[in-house]
Structures are given as structure tokens and as C-alpha cells.
Symmetry: C2
Subunit: 134 residues, 2 copies
């Protein structure tokens, strides 16, 4: 069911400082920041040869990563996103196994314009898992 790791997301309190860390200290290629007010984040992508790291900074009043950064003010690994071929088939298989899909169970259009679902960390080894149909 899982194909590739689409991205690993890291929540950060200060995107400019995070960009400097990845671009200048670690020598990676980093995309231009994109504000996504409908998702409550500003994002950049660290572009590796085989996948990418998404750096997320809270945007607006009700950012979905605000609570995470309250617990981890310096930042930290927030979720891992796997690509699937068929997100509805994946959801149905997961629901049948008893795993919890977050929200109302219907895919939303994610930050990359593709259908995504998030899975409950308690069912996946303490890790927030995103599935993206590519």
C-alpha cells in the first residue's frame, strides 16, 4: 500500500532561522517560502535527491502545529507522509483494520494540492502519518 516517503515534516518556530540552518549550515537546497493560510502554515521544502523535508511554521491564529510547538518550542519532527496509489482504498483498508483516520474520514486537499488523510498517532507507533494520493 505504501509506495514512497513523500516528505518528512518538521515543525519550526522560526522559518527564516530554519531555512538558514538547512541551506547554510547543512548545505541543502531549500525552496522559496509559501504561505498557506487555509492550512495555517508557511512551508518550505528541503529538496533532497530522493525525497523532501517540509519545514512548517505556524501561520495565523489557529495553526494546526501551534500545540505541537507549545510542547516542543525548539521544533521537532511532526509527521511523515507516505504516497499511496488509491487513498480511498487505503482508507477503507485501514478502517477495516481498526486504525483511526483523523477528521471525518474523507480526504482533504493537502498543502500540495493532492488528496490527503492523516492517521491517528496512537495507532502508528506515536507517529502522525499522512497519506497522499499522488
Amino acid at each position: 500500500m505504501l509506495e514512497k516517503v513523500n516528505h518528512i515534516a518538521i515543525a519550526v518556530p522560526d522559518l527564516a532561522a530554519a531555512i538558514a540552518t538547512y541551506r547554510d549550515t547543512l548545505g541543502a537546497r531549500v525552496s522559496a517560502p509559501q504561505a498557506l493560510p487555509e492550512h495555517g502554515v508557511t512551508v518550505v521544502f528541503v529538496e533532497l535527491a530522493n525525497t523532501k523535508v517540509e519545514l512548517l511554521e505556524p501561520l495565523g491564529e489557529a495553526s494546526p502545529i501551534a500545540a505541537f510547538l507549545e510542547k516542543a518550542p525548539a521544533g521537532g519532527m511532526h509527521h511523515i507522509c507516505y504516497e499511496v496509489d488509491d487513498i480511498l482504498a487505503a482508507r477503507d483498508r485501514l478502517a477495516a483494520s481498526g486504525a483511526r483516520v483523523l477528521g471525518d474520514g474523507n480526504p482533504k486537499i493537502g498543502a500540495h494540492g493532492k488528496p490527503v488523510l492523516f492517521l491517528h498517532p496512537k495507532d502508528f507507533l506515536g507517529t502522525l502519518v499522512e497519506l497522499e494520493q499522488v
Copy 2:
């Protein structure tokens, strides 16, 4: 400097249950467990098309992931490993920038038989970063 994401490591309290989650629930290919007593862990790899996820269970009395699992008993994302071409050049560049390399600053032979270094999470957005020369 950073080339590929070699792996994303997830610390887990129960490797058999974690294997079942990734293999049976998520439908991924999972390697056979390897006990690495010199590293204090038993590992399996979840083999994705472009990278891998390393599931780590503590092994022995002084496992380096025991403290992590005390704080996160259900498990959680533990580190991210990037490939570099030249680990000594990478270390020297990082040290010159003021970033902290863990241990004595000399690469160790990691769980995959290759030279590795770990970087201080406080210098990298709350994320433990491993560099591996491949």
C-alpha cells in the same frame, strides 16, 4: 552537502507489534529483525521505493533509545539520517559553523556498517540528525 534521506528512525517499545503495523496494517515490506547488541537496539527496515524507515526497539541494559521511550512510551520519530559524500568534510564544516557534533567528534561505524555522526538536536530544529557516509 546533504544528498539523500537514508532513513527516518522511529523508536518503538514492541518491535513485533510495530512490524505488524507496518506490514499488515499499512501494507509495506519489512525486513527481518537484526539484533545489534553493540548499538543497544534491534532494528528492522520498512522498505519504501525511495528510502526506508528504521524501526528501533531497545536491546540490553543501556540502550541509547531507552530515555526517549520513557518520555514517549508509545514510540515516536527519533532521528533522520542524511547521506553525505565525505563525513569528515561535513563534520569540519559543521564545527566551523558552531554546530555541535555529539560524542568525541569522530565518526563511528553505525548500524549499517558505514561511518556515522550524530548532531545535537538543539542546533537542528529539535531534530536529532544523523549523517552517514555512503
